[in-house]
Amino acid sequence: MKYDVIIVGGGIIGCSVAYYLSKRNQKVLLLEKRDHAQGSAGATDGVVSYHTKKPGAQMDLAVQSLKLYETLEKELGESVEFVPDCGGMQLAENKDQWDMLSKIADKQRESGVDIRMISIDEAREIEPQLAPDLYGVLYAPCGGKVEPIKLTMAFLHAAKRQGVEVKNHLGVTEIKKDSAGKVIGVVTEDGSFYEAPKVVISSGSWSAEVGKMAGLDLPIKPRRGQLLVTEAVGPFMHCTAQCALYNVIKFMPETIKDPKILHIGASLSIHQTENGGLLIGGTREWAGFDRFNSLEAVEAIAHRALRFFPALKNVSVIRAFAGLRPYTPDSKALIGGTKKVPGLYLAAGHEGDGIALAPITGKLLSEEIVDGRSSYSLEPFSPDRFS
């Protein structure tokens, strides 16, 4: 069997890549070791904003991705519970955090977005449930939320309609190269060989393992994030919100000295889903591929949530879960081809930005694969930047 492109990994990124490639009439095979949205997309929250992005290239990408989101439901033909422009907030507890957020916001504004610092009184007019003793808030009126599992499935359904062949519960064991070192296809668990001159690795936290099959040493590591789910309540909040520590832990971890915070990387990220339940994260921990919850994290997350939203005191938590985020050393994803193995492409390492960046990742990578170059330079995301 011969294809134009084989995609290894059917999570939110792989499904997006499959969708945009098939839109360009590529003959695509999507291989998934388990099932769709079983990795990060099925175990995360649905914040799609740009105020949580590292200033610079990652931020630019987020801005473009959010533009794609605006028309995505119509394009994919099904609901993904996308709420555009619900707004996003980062909550400062004291002047130090306020100053730090102000600095980040200054840099983020360079990407041409509306991000401002507002007083807690102003913030409470937008989100009345916020604790009144907070110092102030970084506010981005744009930015939305989505249901990541539905988005993954919507990409998948649309890709299938466009002719993508999908095989679940079929892991890849080998990436085959010819004598010149160029990709020629993959071998799967059942011993079958699938031929294609181009292979995309979109295996999320497991990408390093798949990269090894092609002789690559990828610096992608699983970073665990734990979240709580509450019972459904009436309208509680409109924005998505994170505490100030969120961005610090995410892209300036070296500035944190408190070992307790560093240990599980607990910071708040909260939003309300369509059915009324609140999704409350989260942690950033090194726990290998372990996806269990820990009592320490459950308590820490609940404490953070109560600190910023005291009314949650009487809301019941009904479930906790954990997922793995594909971490990279510079907090930027790996998107694009690699010079080391001609024909091999990466779309992985998005850590906590995979949901927000899924559409733009699929679009730009499909351009690079089909046209040889993308409409926006993927240079900062080159998989070869680490060597």
Binding site: F292, N293, S294, L295, V298, E299, A320
Partner: protein
Amino acid sequence: MKTLETEVAIVGAGSAGLSAACQARNAGAKVLVIDENSRPGGQLFKQIHKFFGSHEHQAGTRGYVIGQKLLKKTQDCGADVMLNSLVYGIQPEDLTMGIIQNGKNCQLHAKKIIIAAGAKENYLPFPGSTLPGVMGAGAAQTMINVNRVLPGKKIVMMGSGNVGLIVSYQLMQAGADVLGIVEGAPKIGGYGVHAGKIRRAGVPFYLGHTIKQVYGKDCVEAVEIAKVDEKFNSIEGTEMMIEADTVCMAVGLNPMTELAWMAGCQFDFIPAFGGHVPLHDWNMETTIPGVYVAGDITGVEEASTAMEEGNLAGVAAAEALGYLSEQDAAEKKAAIVERLNTLRCGPFGEGRRKFKEHQIADMEALKRGEFVGRCIEK
């Protein structure tokens, strides 16, 4: 946050949990039993009927009396019981549990954990099944026998297993009318002796029937039943209306396995036991070292078997902690297993014994590295 310590932590103060507590405590271990209810005893205190079986299983004694005896034994031996306490999480690597005690979070660190969480009632969805007045038969039994409240006056029972039969009879004793027992299968599921009492009271059995719909504005007002074909689909034109204010569902139970899943235990799927059940060995220890299970969580059976499994787990945990010599423990365990085998015989028990042996064989296979989770239907 408060952190508690104990040697043997037991989740659930029902038949299995209290039995395990007595065994472990009497052997010398420090024991703490945790239960989310305000009273210990689990299901025993609502069982006002006499138990079956042999003399050593207190045949002829009513369930709540067995409960009182077990509770006294527990108090006398000095096991601690912590009530109004919900175990919400378990961390297998250090055997620590997260507990909400009277609304406050605390952690309990133990050397051994015995999960005896019991089972919960199955539910049958049909139009109107969310109306007030539609409830589990077990819930109705708790209302009449524990809380002394009659759930309704005119009752339709769905399910003719022992729970359906016993609760129907007790509802009549409590002053309600049972207008009929609806059963999908072509024959009565429970023991003849229970069914006989119901028949003599003049309650009709609608065998090969199902509830099609329940009507009512704010509560149950009428129940529409219909005959079913061999695939349990209702047959058009056979509908019949019963005016009733309460529907009780006795359509089986399923093990409360959440904590065992959280601990990372391996499971078999055994429909006869109510669904997914954790693998365990003859010590009742699961695939997670130090985590034991006992009672309905290991597969839905009866209070008598639950107590014996609790005994086994209690002895095994005490032995593992060094409170019982290998020989003493072996003698105790052999006697308990023999009693368990007596309970698992006869037309109803034989099947359960076979399934239990499968479950334990799979545990052995897992130890040899040959286990793949499976569904055991025969």
